[in-house]
Amino acid sequence: MKRFILAILIFVCSAFADNVFFHNHWTLWKDADVLIWSTDKVPALDSKEFCLSLKRNNTGIGEPKCRVFGEWERDSIAVRYSGWLIANMEGNVKAEHLRARHPAMVAKIESIEDKLILFIGERDGKIYAATFDENAAEPVAAGVFEKTGDKIALGDKIAAAFFDGAAKRRLTKEERAKRMTEPDESYKEVPGFQGWAGVAVGYSQAKIPLTPDNWYSSHTESRVRNYRITKDSASLWNFIDDSDPQLALYAGGTWYGFIGAELMYRYAYHKVKTDNKDTVYQELSYWGFHQHEIGINVVLSRTYTHTKWFKTTPFAFVGFQYSFFVEDIGLKDDSKEHSKAYDVRIKFEDSYKGALVGIGSHFVFFNHYGLGLRAGISSRGRNIEEDPSPEAAAEPTTIGSSTIDCFINLGLEYHFSM
């Protein structure tokens, strides 16, 4: 029994013996030169076998070339740093605690360009490993591995621990030189173009909050009698329900984080406010209008970055829209003949033209995923681009020439920048 427990303990210990202290993001170059830097007399890794381990572990790494990093193994400053590094690699350290401080050593690390450096050394019967890239004078990743006689197995473990992820093509000399002169992306405050697309659900109603009811009561309390009779016909809300949910699709973009444009489509369904007392509607099963709106907005915005992964972009918009109301009417199956009033029921205009204005904000997480909240007022009026009819004076006023509502909607968005 004791032996069994001991065997389990040894198994558990060996499972936890390999330990990665930290692994920060680095650029894994495709077809890279991998330089194995060790100060041990007998290196724990075989460079040829390690290359095969890399290829086995990460098929995207291409054809890496591995060799022993003799230049640094013979350099006294690098030797001193490597001795210090092996003594200081402990489980609780971060990369900054292993930073090279000697200016000459810092310069050496910064000049490695697109080579990948793997430091490897033995201390107290364990193999310590760390990787370096050109971006900082500290290791990118570090860890400890159980020492075994099997160099291939160790190479496989190190390759799996540090050399995973997508590999990038190495830059040519010209590309590298050009990149050196480019401004740092981190200092670029706003991208040239920031775009978004989203789908939103919302609600619209004729009554604008904080305004007196009596401004709207003639519209909202109105009922349609005999398929066409209302008190007045200035607003469509005299005829159809004035508070309904809506669905919106939109896509747009801003240039330099300031001015932009947005295309949008909105859909809502409004039932006709039939007068229940009116017996003429007994033949009617349903009657309503599908509201389709397309429009374009000008957007003025400003982006505030709160954390690396969260930013908000408050914006104001003003635009115009075309509204189309498609009638949806059906009689009850048992009503054989419909009334005369049914035939001469109200007809809306083919299209209405209106404006909309409002404010809102995008809340963007991890640069791509956003929530959009917006509220505004939109109007629909007579389409003045139609030619006036010669009998204009004799014609009745256009139904719904002044239809105003307010809306609020919340959307899921995807953001991208160029």
Binding site: R80, G83, W84, N88, E90, N92, V93, H97, R101, M105
Partner: protein, 217 residues
């Protein structure tokens, strides 16, 4: 962030290495005693202590250095002094304590152990980078890089005698800073005597010892 550091409202004045597990208790080596001590408002000190203006800097820095070592010897069983010369060829480096707080000082190179004059290798070295003595000093005015160019108003009166000391406890075996801090000690100023100065230096040493113990992770 600073609440997590366990320090004041806006600044974090110390930093421990994650491997700082045990504070030195018996023996310690100290360096920086030759050049770290500086007096601000030297003419004020010269007038009060009745020492000529020309020699006030040399006099007080010798005096403080002696008082510092005496108090250190009271606090630790064995104290080894390493002359500043042993450090003067190392480059001056900055250590970051907080977003805007940086302290400067010479630290030994990675991979090189410092030996004392007898050739022994001390395990811990207390490196005194700067010890500033003055009146009503605020450490943020010296170490917050956003404030260091501010000019202090000319003052006629002074409430406190104050000392600001920046120091590092150096792990000589593994060449790493175990504990780095900037401490400030204020002492009500009644009538300045040499005794007041040795008292403030002594309390500064006591504070360093307390902090070294408290800073263990």
């Amino acid at each position: 962030m600073c609440i997590l550091c366990g320090c004041g409202q806006s600044y974090c004045w110390h930093q421990s290495h994650p491997s700082y597990k045990k504070a030195p208790t018996d023996s310690i080596a100290v360096t920086g005693l030759d050049e770290a001590f500086v007096v601000t408002r030297s003419s004020w000190f010269a007038k009060r202590l009745e020492i000529s203006k020309d020699s006030i800097q040399t006099f007080t820095s010798h005096f403080c250095s002696k008082a510092f070592l005496e108090q250190l010897q009271k606090s630790y069983k064995s104290v080894t002094v390493i002359p500043d010369v042993a450090f003067s060829h190392f480059p001056e480096e900055s250590q970051k304590l907080d977003t805007r707080i940086f302290m400067k000082g010479r630290l030994p190179e990675q991979g090189i152990v410092v030996k004392d004059s007898a050739g022994n290798v001390p395990a811990y070295i207390l490196i005194i980078h700067e010890f500033t003595l003055g009146t009503d000093l605020q450490r943020e005015n010296f170490y917050d890089y956003a404030l260091i160019h501010n000019e202090a108003p000319e003052k006629k009166t002074s409430q406190n005698l104050s000392a600001i000391v920046s120091y590092t406890l150096w792990d000589n075996m593994k060449q790493r800073p175990l504990y780095s801090a900037v401490n400030q000690v204020d002492q009500p100023n009644v009538k300045l005597t040499l005794n007041d100065i040795s008292k403030i230096v002594a309390s500064s040493v006591q504070q360093i010892k307390q902090e070294l113990t408290a800073g263990v992770k």
